[in-house]
Every structure is written in C-alpha cells, then in structure tokens.
C-alpha cells in the first residue's frame, strides 16, 4: 500500500537510496494505493554520491537527489495475497527504478523480491534478482 509520500528503499545499483512516491500510475485517481508490481512516479530523496570522473565515463545511469523517475514496487510491508491463499509480507518497502519505457535503470538487484512481479509482467526483474519469494 504505497501512496503519496510513501518512501521506499531502492535495491538496484542505479545510485538512488531512498525514493518518495508521488503518483501511482495504475489508477486514474489520486488517492490510489500501489502494491507489488505497480508502477509509480517518484522523487529521489537520497542518493549515493556520484563522483565527477564517473559522471562522464560510465555507461550506467546514475541518478541524483531530486530526480523525478519511475519505479516498480518489488516488496511491501502490507501482505499480498497469493492465488493459493497464502499471504506474503516483507519487512520493508522496496522498489527498482525504471525509465519511461519500463526498462530498468540499474543493472543489478541486491535483495529478495516478491514473486508476484512475474505475474504482473516484470519477468526481467525477477530473473535478475538473487532471491525470489
């Protein structure tokens, strides 16, 4: 249940650490809630420091504080119901950054992701993740 002002940890290597949700993209209402596998628009609140030398040279995109990007939610503290009736709940809220074309910005994922992503069509993220629950 991620909504406006909800903060999420970023678990890929795009450079951001903490993002804040600004809009949930699935519904045409402003007070919708986002869950695992939903796309959100977010603001980068805290990012890893980018050195000036790395800026121009590396091909990987590094985001900075204050950037407005898109992201997909991969873990929620609110339990999500699986088709077999189980509920799965994680210890924190986490997301992976995307660009406007639904492609990942980072190249690696560190941490566990929810298996519900696969059902919502994010198979690429699931395949990169070290552990899927």
């Amino acid at each position: 249940m991620i909504g406006l002002k909800g903060t999420l940890n970023v678990i890929d290597n795009s450079g951001a650490l903490l993002i804040e949700c600004v809009n949930v993209l699935k519904q045409k209402v402003n007070n919708g809630w986002g869950s695992v596998g939903d796309e959100i628009v977010c603001v980068v609140k805290r990012a890893r420091p980018v050195s000036a030398a790395a800026q121009a040279s590396t091909t990987a995109v590094k985001v900075r504080r204050g950037d407005v990007r898109r992201a997909v939610i991969v873990r929620t503290k609110k339990a999500v119901r699986r088709p077999d009736g189980r509920f799965v709940r994680f210890d924190d809220n986490a997301a992976v950054l995307l660009n406007n074309k639904r492609e990942m910005l980072g190249t690696r994922i560190g941490g566990v992701v929810s298996a519900d992503l696969r059902m919502k069509g994010w198979g690429k993220i699931v395949s990169l993740a070290p552990k899927v629950v």
């Binding site: 077999d84 009736g85 189980r86 799965v88 709940r89 994680f90 210890d91 941490g111 629950v133």
Partner: protein
C-alpha cells in the same frame, strides 16, 4: 500440495492457511496462525513456550515411542587373515591344546641349549688359530711404497 511447518511452533500449515513473513535479511518465516506470528513478533523464545514442538522436544515430552527403537545395533567382528598368516594358520595355532604347546616349548628350549653349547666350543677353538699368522711385517713394507725416500 506441500504442507509446510510453522517456524515458531512446529505445527503443520495447510495451503491457504497462515502467513509468510520475509525478514530484512531475506530469511523466510511461516506462521500457521496469528497466535504464532504475534508471539514471534513480540520476540518470544519458542523454547520457553510450553505448547511448541521445540519446547516439547527439549523437555522430552511424549517421545517414548522413538526411544524404544534404538537398541538393535551391534557391530559384528570378522576374523581376517593377515599377510604371512592366512585364516587357516591362525585357526590352527589357536586350536592347539596346552599339551602340544608345552611340548613345543620344551623342544625349543632343548634345541636352544644344544645350540648354545656348540657355539661355546666353536668359540674356544678358533680363538687361538688366527693369532699365529707369520712374522710381523709393517704395513708400509707390505704395501711396497715409494722406496722410503
């Protein structure tokens, strides 16, 4: 269909029951009911909660059926032949009666005694023989060296 077990109490979790919790360090915990999950989140130790499987196993409650099975194991020793003494030789030696053994002992003793006597007589004679072996000649003369310059 896989029946899981509860991480706190050891109960069985049938499909569509209970919750799955993934902790920050990616460790997975399964709970059969809200009672188990609540106690886990309160950080209670299942070893101290009397109705959990962990407690019961620790205090050995209701396990009398398992203990009775454990006595039927005994290692059987096999006799094996060694290099130099195969199984038949070992068996023959073991089955000698005491009488035969004492006879063998006496025979061995008498043999040893006779051998000893022979040795002594032999020693006495050749002890004198090599003493008289010609006039004393110095080593140098024997070797026939440079002619003593």
């Amino acid at each position: 269909m896989k029946v899981e077990i509860d991480s706190f109490s050891g109960f069985r979790i049938y499909p569509s029951k209970g919750k799955l919790f993934v902790r920050g360090d990616s460790k997975v915990f399964r709970f059969a009911s809200s009672k188990n999950s609540s106690l886990f989140l309160q950080r209670k130790n299942p070893r101290k909660i009397a109705w959990t499987q962990v407690y019961r196993r620790m205090h050995k409650k209701g396990v009398t059926e398992e203990v009775a099975k454990k006595r039927s194991r005994r290692t059987v020793k096999h006799q094996r032949g060694i290099v130099g003494a195969d199984l038949a030789a070992i068996a023959a030696k073991r089955n000698q009666t005491a009488a035969i053994r004492s006879q063998q002992r006496l025979a061995a003793i008498s043999k040893a005694k006779t051998e000893k006597k022979e040795k002594e007589t032999k020693k006495a004679k050749p002890a004198r023989a090599p003493v008289a072996s010609g006039p004393r000649v110095s080593k140098q003369q024997m070797k026939g060296g440079k002619g003593g310059r």
